[in-house]
Symmetry: C2
Subunit: 172 residues, 2 copies
């Protein structure tokens, strides 16, 4: 795939992430989830991640965790809100589970953009885990703003595609 | 250090984990936290982890995450409660943060043993993040039992040692 450079709209960024999730299904390299970190000002792509739980034998290898880890490795920092660094956005094809939600404040991103909802994930048998009941408010309290349901229909269609392909529903 | 094999009491397992946390401080290889996974029946040690956030430039490299990851790599599984595997316990020198709490149900452990409390961590400037307010009940609902304050005094003393050594309080 040629990566088109115009990531100026949240929909374009989400489209790209949805494309990654589809590739992950197609190549049978993990669950139907993908994520990416973008520079919030230039909209430059910093890192990507796809779900790798089953092929890597690692329950914490969710797309968001991998995208955040690669962003930190790329920028040589344990927190993306270090001085001198771009403000960072995490774009995820689905709302975060309890673990990824908990990882977000440590990572140093300033905005979270989600596609499919927890209900969409649940509809195909995935579980978001014991996420804080007021997860959006809790992020906002920590100066992390949140957008949900960006291209939800397309993001949710990818989950259905995975289900129809009979992809493994681990931790269901 | 010679690893003495008698891990039959929770206090002995916690002592070992506290020792690892002290080593992490002494060698300046990360924050004052350590964890280990044990076979719940034989009490055999399966894996260890120490906090590596700052030296590895990775905000998710908490001790618990690393111990769980190594246990899964050792046992070649993405969930430790796969058939044919030993029942696993995670022993952590401190109560889990929001992320590690969220990671526990995915990991497949059946018991969590904690030393220092969230208050002890907070007392030296660390933050447990937006953890679910009923985190113990939420784990119990998922058939993960929890013991807290095992050797709390010694576990908390390690945190104080780190503070006195002026170790970095990241994500404070």
């Amino acid at each position: 795939m040629r990566i088109h450079a115009d990531f100026s709209s949240p929909e374009a960024r989400m489209d790209f992430v949805i494309h990654l999730a589809k590739q992950n299904i197609k190549h049978q390299t993990g669950g139907p989830f993908a994520a990416a970190v973008f520079d919030m000002d230039s909209h430059r792509l910093i890192s990507v991640g796809v779900n790798m739980v089953v092929p890597s034998n690692c329950s914490s290898n969710h797309a968001e965790m991998i995208a955040l880890m690669f962003a930190q490795q790329t920028l040589h920092t344990f927190t993306l809100n270090s001085e001198g660094l771009p403000r960072c956005e995490l774009v995820s094809s689905c709302e975060p589970c309890a673990m990824c939600f908990g990882a977000i404040p440590w990572a140093g991103i300033q905005h979270l953009t989600c596609g499919a909802t927890a209900e969409d994930a649940k509809a195909i048998g995935f579980d978001e885990g014991p996420r804080h009941p007021n997860w959006i408010t809790e992020l906002e309290k920590r100066d992390i703003s949140v957008s949900t349901e960006i291209n939800r229909e397309q993001a949710s269609a990818v989950l259905q595609l995975y289900k129809n392909d009979k992809g493994p529903i681990y931790n269901g």
